[in-house]
């Protein structure tokens, strides 16, 4: 029989420590939606998404009430659109039409984001891939719920530097087209190395081509719960600290597993994976930066931060894999700046720089995330930042990503407000030295050697 203390512990996690299930994401394959014309394709896409996910939001809400656990987001990911639209889209504007269709389907289903306006170009770009990439600024400016991602590299293929160069320009253009709203378009776009096929988190979610027709993936969170748990072992050694984090991650993930299983049964859609990520929100007490401080750092970014984060990330995984047989997606600690109050504070205090964040991304999921930089940053510099991050992922056989926002009209010292879960961020300084000649070379960086590991 469950004891009253166990019940109180669970409910305190939910009420005081912001434990929640961050997202139930339904992955939907659109490969069978390709029609003879653009219009026919759009119609089929709309029909498939709205029929597949019509009960997604209501099911999420019912499960939430049944167990008394908040399920914050209900979302949809689809097959990378460059693959779906390849035969019917003859121009970038044609792809924008598909983006609008996705937006309309998301609105009908009541989900707040739909991911998969994507292309997988880690070795080369098809004509369709390039058209889709060039359509991203307009697609993100003219839709509200569509999220876009591009996979530009992998450990097996190397890095497509032509794509990296183009994406630097695309990010600047996206920022320009949404400058009235603090360049928010860029907050809905992420560039990956080693992108996972089953990630439920936005903006990088897409439904990989190796997946089933439809699938349910669940992302759990709970930085506040980890923070509260390790408060109780302040001053203890690393063994005690690690045990505490593992046990907490286990408990959090079990809730995700329960919700995922039930959502899968109710919706009649197979269960895919649990993504056990510590995903912060701007709410106080829901912060990865705060965990790092509790581990013993004055601010995130202080010496020791990379080691602390490596340890945290590893313990979260070790606890989580015991709780669910199917763990996937990104699974680790997220370190977005604008979505985490203590990371924002660390930047403001001068403790956390872009370079330190880059080092931190070597040991955690996912990458440079939600970082606002000056609006006058050159496209090649952005491409250089992306290339560095892609190289980390490629060499270390991990997923890395960049979601960076050049805020048009703003500079270092100013703040940008995205609102809601996206939070706000101080504009961070970027290294001023040029990498033009490097980015302008073109071609691709070969895959790294997989032996002689020193």
């Amino acid at each position: 029989m469950i004891s009253i203390n166990e019940v109180i512990e669970t409910n305190e996690m939910i009420q005081k420590m912001n434990l929640d299930v961050r997202t139930i994401t339904m992955g939907i394959s659109l490969l069978d939606c390709v029609g003879g014309t653009l219009q026919e394709t759009c119609d089929r896409i709309y029909e498939k998404i709205t029929s597949s996910a019509k009960n997604l939001v209501s099911t999420g809400e019912e499960i939430s009430r049944k167990y008394g656990i908040p399920i914050v987001n209900k979302r949809i990911s689809v097959t990378p659109i460059a693959l779906v639209g390849g035969s019917v889209c003859k121009s970038s504007d044609d792809f924008v039409e598909i983006a609008k269709t996705l937006d309309a389907a998301a609105t009908t289903c009541g989900v707040n984001f739909i991911g998969g306006y994507s292309a997988l170009v880690c070795k080369g770009m098809t004509k369709a891939d390039e058209l889709l990439i060039r359509s991203i600024p307009k697609a993100l400016a003219e839709t509200n719920r569509v999220c876009s991602s591009i996979n530009t590299g992998s450990t097996k293929t190397g890095i497509n530097m032509d794509a990296v160069k183009l994406i630097g320009e695309i990010i600047v253009e996206t920022a320009e087209l949404t400058k009235e709203k603090d360049s928010i378009g860029c907050a809905k776009f992420v560039v990956f190395c080693n992108a996972p096929d089953d990630n439920p988190f936005m903006a990088g979610a897409f439904h990989g081509v190796t997946e089933a027709d439809r699938i349910i993936n669940v992302g759990v969170s709970g930085p506040g719960v980890v923070k509260a748990a390790i408060e109780a072992v302040r001053g203890e050694n690393f063994e005690v600290l690690c045990e505490t984090i593992k046990k907490t991650a286990f408990k959090i993930t079990r809730v995700g597993q329960l919700v995922a299983k039930e959502a899968s049964e109710r919706l009649g859609v197979p269960f895919g994976i649990i993504d056990l990520s510590l995903a912060p929100t701007p709410a106080v007490g829901d912060s990865v930066g705060e965990i790092l401080e509790e581990i013993g750092l004055e601010y995130a970014g202080a010496p020791g931060t990379t080691a602390a984060l490596a340890m945290l990330n590893d313990q979260v995984k070790k606890g989580g894999v015991m709780a669910s047989s199917y763990v996937g997606g990104l699974s680790g600690a997220f370190i977005p700046v604008s979505e985490d109050q203590r990371m924002i504070d660390a930047v403001t205090a001068g403790a956390l720089t872009l370079e330190k964040l880059e080092a931190m991304t070597c040991v955690c999921s996912v990458g440079l995330d939600m970082i606002a930089i000056p609006g006058d940053t050159k496209a090649t510099t952005i491409s250089g930042i992306i290339a560095d991050e892609m190289a980390l992922g490629m060499v270390n056989q991990k997923t890395t990503a960049v979601r960076i926002i050049p805020v048009i009209g703003k500079g270092v010292g100013e703040t940008v407000e995205f609102g809601g879960l996206l939070g706000y961020a101080p504009i961070m300084p970027v290294n001023k030295f040029s990498c033009d000649a490097f980015i302008n070379r073109g071609g691709r960086i070969p895959a790294p050697i997989h032996s002689f590991k020193n």
Partner: protein
């Protein structure tokens, strides 16, 4: 048997358990176990109930209990037991 856990949290006062029990009885919900404790000066009560033959569904019971809680100045939650089993039992 699907068990539901009802928790009551708030300042202690006369008649909290009585009110909840009357509601449960009116809706044909059987009480299997009751435990209570004081944490940080707050009254915490947990009831394990069997709502298998209840006259209403879970969501309605949860909503009505929450409303009842508001009337008497405490917080009442009804949750299916699986969430606690999943979290605390291997």
């Amino acid at each position: 048997m699907k068990k539901t856990i009802i928790t009551v949290l708030g300042k202690d006062r006369v008649g909290i358990i009585a009110k909840v029990c009357v509601y449960l009885s009116q809706n044909n919900i059987n009480i299997l176990d009751i435990a209570q404790t004081i944490v940080d000066g707050y009254f915490n009560m947990m009831m394990v109930v069997d709502a298998g033959n209840a006259s209403k569904d879970h969501n309605m019971i949860a909503d009505e209990l929450a409303d009842l809680g508001k009337e008497i100045g405490v917080q009442i939650k009804a949750q299916q037991q699986e969430i606690f089993d999943m979290m605390h039992r291997l």
